[in-house]
Amino acid sequence: MSVLARLERERIFKWLPFVPVQGLLVVLLLPNVILLVYLSLLSWRITRGAWWNAPFTWLDSFAVALGDERFLWALVRTFGFAAVAVPLELALGFGLAFLCREPFRGRRLYSTIFLVPMMIVPAVVGYDLSMLLIDQGPFNQVLSLLAGRPVTVRWLSDYTAAKVAVIGADVWQWTSLTFLIFLSGLAGLPRDPIRAARVMGATRWQVFWHVELPLLKPVIAIALVLRSMEALKIFDYPMLLTQGGPGNSTETIAVYLWRVGWEFARVSHAAAMSLILLVVVSLYVFVAIRVLRRERRRLAEEGAG
């Protein structure tokens, strides 16, 4: 038997890692999805006996969910937070990576510092900022110094300022990740097309806009997808920074569902809301995956050509 034929036959390496992974995902996810749908069709609270004895109320929980303004606002707010935080993270991360791409004195020190936030536990970040942002705290003091007059923003009890604080926490922490992604993107740029453009007389700006930026598109896409998917899950910052307050002004969808399910113990309502959230997020997932597939396909085509 030829060596090459034997090579192709070793199908065990194809399936050996696949079976446990797929098994784990099926065992963990499938029953939960079924259970989620089932629970949403019941009228059950944790305080009311066993779930298998609970009566069916069919779509009542969905009616409750869709009539719940606090739920709908939490949904809108979560997307709003992501819509502000993610572009900021991408812009800042890109700018910083761009400034750090060529060697200069102090570059290593800067990039070391910039990478630290992503290594900190988000709950710690939330707690840390809650300490920094108290009314008579160090952050207001620094602002006062910079402004030259007393600044007394009530970061944790003003409706708008608290939103800024939660978004700020996300930006502070995750700009480090976008910085890292763009740093590897810029480091991986092919030299030839850039040099060719320079030789043909293109200005720095033209090279950046017409050569480098298009080459960086896949990297920008992955950073955008990764950050927006995580931003839609924001939970730790509001929980530790503001507990969703003041009022409900920083209550993200994860925080509100946590309250409905655990604090209010309205399990069936929480299940119905979770399903609605799943449908909404699926739209995002569909678009995001299409974007990623397109970019990877393009990379493969150009790599082959």
């Binding site: 992974v21 008579q136 890292l180 990297v219």
Partner: protein
């Protein structure tokens, strides 16, 4: 010449500004962890403690579950620290082992079809809160609620998509010709994996492990939902402090924050030169 100086100056001004923004919260946490209770909240704030103290560290690192002092409850973290370490290490190791093997078989054999990594990533995109409610009911039935095994299994599943996406970038860089050559010379497939592939992807494995370790070490929501008293992680402990109604316990909390941050940052510094290579997610031309 003057223009270049101006550019350099502008560059440093911008970088220094962000460095200051980055360092301020870290500095404040560090400094608060060394302060006596009288200096936690003052106006003007104290940027350096008069008498640095280790009392906050001693308080949280002594055995037991909690102490009451002047109406404040201080939680101890020896057990949460151990639990976090055990759960995050076990789940990250398992996820990296399974995920990188799967990434290899996807790159070489197309296991699961061309869309497989995308399907896994789309699972990760769904917010965990969606599944948290039924998960509790399911885990009660399986007797996995509040167990190490239960939490580890969940973390393996949630970190697998990241492992696969980070590792496939490294594995795609391993030349097939090299593997073929070794095979033709008579090496077994296992031998090829160990002696040809593994050395080429080591830095990828290290970076991937660090990244999912950070994720699992930090995870709050699922840990809150799926554990109770038998298993408590560091993020849960911090959250308990924060939702307490008694006076805020800034110093010990700052000590906990510092303890939770230090090991990861040290690990990060050790592998910093690999980090830049590790975060391309297969989105860079070769």
């Amino acid at each position: 010449m003057r223009r270049r100086w101006a550019l350099t100056l502008a560059r440093h001004a911008a970088l220094l500004a962000w460095a200051a923004v980055t360092l301020l919260p870290i500095y404040w946490m560090l400094i608060t962890s060394f302060k006596h209770s009288g200096e936690w909240v003052t106006w003007p704030p104290r940027w350096f403690p008069h008498e640095p103290t280790l009392i906050n560290y001693v308080k949280v690192l002594t055995p037991g579950t909690s102490t009451f002092e002047l109406g404040r409850q201080t939680l101890k973290i020896l057990k949460p620290l151990w639990d976090s370490l055990a759960v995050a290490s076990a789940s990250s190791l398992l996820a990296v082992a399974l995920g990188s093997a799967l990434a290899y078989s996807w790159v070489r054999f197309g296991t699961g079809g061309p869309r497989y990594p995308y399907n896994l990533l789309s699972i990760r995109m769904v917010p965990p809160i969606v599944i948290a409610v039924p998960f509790v009911v399911y885990y009660v039935t399986l007797r996995l609620l509040d167990t190490y095994t239960g939490l580890v299994l969940v973390y393996v599943a949630t970190s697998l998509p990241y492992v696969i996406w980070m590792m496939l970038a490294f594995i795609e860089e391993v030349p097939v010709e090299l593997e073929r050559a070794a095979r033709v010379m008579g090496a077994s497939r296992f031998r090829v994996l160990r002696s040809v592939v593994l050395p080429l992807v080591t830095s990828g494995l290290v970076v991937t492990f660090l990244f999912v370790f950070i994720l699992n070490w930090s995870e709050l929501l699922l840990a809150l939902a799926l554990t109770n008293t038998e298993v408590t992680t560091l993020p849960i402990t911090l959250n308990k402090f924060q939702s307490a109604n008694e006076g805020r316990d800034y110093g010990p909390q700052a000590a906990i924050g510092t303890i939770a941050t230090l090991p990861v940052v040290v690990l990060g510094f050790l592998i910093q030169k690999h980090l830049v290579k590790g975060f391309s997610f297969g989105m860079i031309r070769k």
